[in-house]
């Protein structure tokens, strides 16, 4: 332990209660950190690629999640180790930024760490290793830019987008119907995309799931699906050409928010108040009716009497609709959210061609479909599936696919998947290494080796001989100078990824390499770990 003494020989206290803290310094600290990082990436390694396996996670409450989405696995894992948490962060930031490739980024970071350990053992200073990695990541990113293809798509020709989404979906459990799901994802993104500005607001896509039925029943609805039903059982179940009043005020007796007291002390007051109350309800409903609304969607509850009045005046209503859904409905129907009855006007009403209630299964489950909206810029992906875990996993997969489609709209460059891009980068980095004088050269070579580990993991998971396959593909890439050669995971007989239609987005790949390098650099720079004592 580090101790310092003053002129009288008394020790200064630098770390409080330092005896009870465990401390690792120097190479030991780096090695421990690397080991932890590698351990996390090992868990994810088997989930990579179309033949990757799933993980089953049991939450503290006993709920089960089955997934092979890297970000989800790491998020639900009870990681206690600091470095482990860094890896979790890494995958999360890939998820936020790109939405796909969350497993790959962790596997890459793990491989980099593994390589750096070897270098550290040779006595190379961690900072030099980190710098070498930095240089090589730049080389790799530039190289990706070079080998990337631009591909054309338009509102009518969405086939290339569908192909890319299918690559994403093929590693998930839903790959049974990846074609239809990819189409749904692309169509929904295209529906909300702003092709001029190349921007997509994914908030406009609602992903709703309901247990039951089969995965093939999953559908895209150009409109909104709300998990609610009409407030009164006898209201009509289907409304055509609905004019929707979207309210955030309850059909209930008003309660002013400021502190107040209305005291009833005479019979007259009692009676006037009573009359007022009756009139109030009547006014509320009448106001909705007056502006021509044929459907009321309200964020709050209804009083029994108001409910009946609505029913009586033939004004169907839905209550307890969540805030987010309310916004979506407003966007889709082109209506305005109205906070007070007084402010209701005809212009503020939303319009929808068809609103209908649909029942599912044998229980009382009903959902409200709002379709043919005035502004079809909000869509819903409605997922069906055999069980709860399936629905959840499908939701995650669809989310990934949506993100991929969005990224492509933002930037239509693609690289080839199946490890092809990594192999090509590895070759480029390897050749560049020789030009660097100094110790960094070693680090750059190590980086190239680390890049190879992604296709290696792919081959391993697909039941191929990893080293044999990789070297064969690598040789082919150099000989034919063809960047499209990758690992043939699906046993289709060709390893030309262009023929197999396996694409990934350029920004996704670049982000993976940059993020992984950054985290590894960060881990390498730590040379002292002080952890509090165990309780």
């Amino acid at each position: 332990m580090a101790l310092a003494f003053d002129e009288y020989g008394r020790p200064f206290i630098i770390l409080r209660e330092q005896e009870s803290k465990s401390r690792l310094r120097g190479l030991d600290a780096q090695k421990a950190n690397i080991a932890a990082g590698v351990a996390v990436s090992r868990i994810l390694r088997t989930s990579l690629g179309p033949k990757g396996m799933d993980k089953m996670l049991q939450s503290p409450d006993g709920d089960i999640t089955i997934t092979n989405d890297g970000a989800t696995i790491l998020e639900q894992m009870d990681v206690d180790n600091q470095i482990g948490k860094l890896m979790v962060e890494l995958s999360r930031s890939q998820d936020y930024e790109i939405g796909d490739g969350t497993t790959g980024v962790v596997v890459l970071a793990g491989a980099l760490l593994q390589q750096s350990e070897k270098l550290l053992e040779r006595g190379i200073h961690p900072i030099r290793v980190a710098e070498g990695f930095e240089i090589s990541s730049r080389i790799a990113v530039d190289h990706l830019e070079k080998i990337a293809h631009k591909f054309d798509f338009s509102a009518t020709n969405i086939e290339p987008l569908v192909q890319t989404c299918m690559t994403t979906l093929s590693s998930k459990i839903v790959n049974r119907c990846k074609r239809s799901l990819a189409e749904i994802a692309v169509k929904s993104v295209m529906a909300v995309a702003d092709l001029e500005r190349k921007d997509v607001n994914l908030d406009l896509i609602k992903v709703e799931g309901k247990v039951g039925g089969k995965l093939e029943d999953t559908e895209l609805i150009y409109g909104i699906v709300v998990d609610k039903d009409m407030s009164h059982p006898q209201m009509p179940k289907q409304i055509e050409d609905a004019k929707i009043a979207i309210l955030t005020c309850p059909f209930e007796p008003p309660k002013p928010k400021t502190k107040h007291k209305v005291d009833i002390d005479t019979v007259e007051k009692f009676q006037t108040l009573r009359k007022q109350e009756q009139k109030y309800f009547d006014d509320m409903v009448q106001r909705c009716k007056d502006v021509g609304a044929t459907l009321v969607i309200c964020q709050w509850g209804f009083d029994d009497e108001a409910n009946h009045l609505l029913m009586h005046r033939n004004l169907p209503a839905v209550r307890w609709v969540g805030g987010v859904e309310l916004e979506l409905i407003a966007i889709a129907t082109g209506g305005r959210i109205v906070p007070r009855f007084q402010e209701l006007t005809t212009e503020k009403l939303g319009k929808a061609g068809l609103v209908r209630e649909k029942a599912f299964g044998t229980t009382k489950d009903r959902m409200l479909y709002i379709e043919h909206c005035a502004n079809s810029k909000a869509v819903t992906v409605f997922i069906r599936g055999g069980n709860k875990m399936m629905i959840e996993e499908t939701k995650r997969s669809i989310h990934d696919a949506l993100c991929v489609a969005r990224n492509l709209i933002r930037n239509n460059s693609i690289v080839y998947g199946g490890g092809a891009a990594e192999i090509s980068c590895s070759i480029a980095v390897e050749t560049a290494a020789d030009k660097y004088p100094g110790v960094e050269q070693y680090a750059i070579r190590a980086f190239a080796d680390a890049l190879d580990s992604v296709p290696m993991a792919l081959a391993e998971n697909s039941g191929l001989q990893p080293i044999e396959t990789l070297s064969a593909v690598k040789a082919q890439q150099i000989k034919e100078s063809n960047h499209c050669c990758g690992i043939d995971c699906n046993d289709t007989g060709t390893n030309n990824m262009r023929e197999q239609n396996v694409f990934e987005t350029l920004i996704g790949k670049q982000q993976q390499i940059l993020l992984a390098t950054q985290v590894v650099k960060m881990i390498l720079k730590i040379d002292d770990v002080i952890s509090p004592a165990d309780y």
Binding site: A35, V38, M77, R176, V211, H260, H312
Partner: protein
């Protein structure tokens, strides 16, 4: 290489199981669940007693797969997946909750053998997928659809109901109950809203005394001093406060400074209630049903006016009553001319067993109806209700999707035959998985025979031979204990149920197979305040 630091990767109590161990853990858990419910399968299946850990240690006797699994406390994650599919099957089609778990269990059992002989789980999955698809097509080829022929369709429904009920406690009187269920469902006219079929359980009598009432029975008493029998009733169905009708606006409250004023306000309140009652009476009704309580005072007023007032009919009761009588559920009473009233020919108090109930007969709309179940004990009644519910669910789904299959292990044999043929045609390792799928399918008739105490090996072999001929109708006749013609015996099942069983079992097996690692988080600690 990885030694230090790894032990501390997870939090203290979190555990991790990898590779083979993880797969073993999920196989074992899933198979244990499947074996647990296996003995309840088929007409000769046995029941289970479930004792709750809650207060009173209440006991449930059942052979409904979903009910059994729902009440289990399971820690094994794979087992939870199976429980979930059984629950979904229950929600979605209502029947086949046991079959789906047994089939998924068998699929995993076969998969375990394959994994043991070094076949990769992904290969097994792709084989299972092909097999499931093929099996579904085989079923589709052999379905019958009698939708156009009302007479035949009804007999189909009868057969399905009888097949469903035959594995339940009601099997003795299955004909009687099947008729009840079919009648009830036919009244729904295609709607799947089973809520309009009310099931009232009354202990006493025997199961045979159960009956379907075309009218509506409300399990409530008639207020004192009010007529016990009304002919040509006009009914107002309401959901309104008939106790103290508070002034809710502006959060007003009563604050007075003298006794006299209290009395005045009370008088005003009473006046208000009287007015309300007058308004209600002004609708020209002679029966008033309210969801909420009716206090003595308004009740007295109603009695004075000769109106039958029924209080505290809960939500379901109100909604059904509104459905049956065609009235609307009212909460305000200012426009008597436009409120739709319900009508019925006769309201009277009837006795079932020792209880008095209110019976509405000759109602306008025939959608809703009531089934009164009688039986020796509450356990019997509960189980009878569950069984009947299963039958009703299946029937209501069949009305919408009228495709029908034969029962008694017939569909499984048909599927197994088709899948076997596929296996022969498929090159590669997948064919092992496809073969295994067909073995798993055959396990269902085997279990049915085993549960009936029959020689399953002999019977299934015979069945296979029978099915080798084109268009065989052979299945297991549990009663005689031999192979019989299912169409002659009148054993049918709904296509929708079988399809759901097939698809969700395959889906669940696939999910469990794909797992190669189980990470269990530390259980959430209970707070000490418990």
């Amino acid at each position: 290489m990885i030694t230090c630091g790894v032990e501390k990767l997870f939090k203290d109590e979190a555990t991790e199981e990898k590779g083979e161990r993880a797969r073993m853990a999920s196989f074992v858990g899933a198979m244990a669940i499947a074996d647990l419910v296996k003995t309840t399968l088929g007409p000769k299946g046995m029941d289970k007693i479930l004792q709750s850990t809650g207060r009173g240690h209440s006991v449930t006797v059942t052979n409904d797969g979903a009910t059994i699994l729902k009440s289990l406390h399971i820690d094994n994650p794979a087992a939870k997946v199976l429980i979930d599919i059984s629950k979904v099957q229950d929600d979605e089609v209502g029947d086949g909750t046991t079959s789906v778990v047994v089939l998924a269990g068998e699929l995993l059992r076969e998969a375990e053998k394959l994994v043991g002989s070094k076949i990769h789980p992904m290969t097994i999955i792709s084989g299972y997928r092909m097999a499931a698809d093929c099996a579904r097509r085989a079923l589709l080829d052999r379905v019958k659809d009698n939708k156009d022929d009302a007479e035949k369709f009804r007999s189909d429904l009868m057969r399905i109901a009888m097949t469903t009920l035959s594995s339940k406690i009601l099997s003795q009187d299955k004909e009687h109950f099947a008729k009840l269920a079919v009648d009830a469902v036919m009244r729904l006219k295609g709607s799947t809203n089973l809520e309009s079929i009310q099931i009232i359980k009354k202990a006493g009598g025997s199961l045979k005394d159960s009956f379907l009432d075309e009218g509506f029975i409300l399990d409530k008493k008639i207020g004192l001093g009010q007529p016990k029998r009304i002919e040509n009733a006009n009914i107002l169905v309401a959901n309104t406060a008939m106790d103290t009708d508070k002034v809710k606006i502006y959060g007003a409250r009563v604050r007075v400074d003298s006794m006299a004023k209290v009395a005045q306000i009370e008088g005003a309140e009473k006046e208000k209630m009287r007015e309300k009652v007058q308004k209600i009476i002004g609708h020209g009704i002679n029966c008033f049903v309210n969801r909420q309580l009716i206090y003595n005072f308004p009740e007295e007023l109603f009695a004075d006016a000769g109106i039958l007032a029924i209080e505290h009919a809960d939500f379901d009761g109100i909604e059904r009553l509104a459905l049956v009588t065609g009235g609307e559920i009212a909460s305000t009473f200012d426009n008597p001319e436009s409120v739709k009233l319900g009508h019925c020919k006769l309201i009277e108090e009837i006795m079932i067993g020792e209880d008095k109930l209110i019976h509405f007969s000759g109602v306008e709309m025939g959608q809703a109806c009531t089934i009164v179940l009688r039986g020796a004990s509450f356990h019997v009644l509960d189980e009878a209700e569950r069984s009947l519910h299963d039958a009703l669910c299946v029937l209501s789904q069949t009305v919408n999707d009228s495709r029908v299959l034969l029962g008694g292990g017939w569909p499984e044999m048909v599927m197994a035959k088709a899948v076997d043929e596929l296996a022969r045609k498929t090159p590669g390792k997948k064919s092992h998985a496809i073969e295994a799928f067909s073995r798993a399918l055959i396990a269902i008739p085997t279990t049915i025979a085993d549960n009936a105490g029959l020689d399953s090996a002999e019977l299934v072999a015979q069945l296979r031979a029978e099915h080798h001929k084109e268009h065989s109708n052979a299945g297991i006749d549990v009663i005689i204990g031999s192979v019989g013609d299912m169409s002659e015996l009148g054993i049918s099942e709904a296509f929708k149920v079988k399809q759901a069983v097939l698809l969700s079992a395959t889906e669940a097996a696939e999910m469990i197979l794909r797992v190669d690692e189980i990470i269990t988080c530390a259980p959430r600690r209970r707070e000490d305040r418990m």
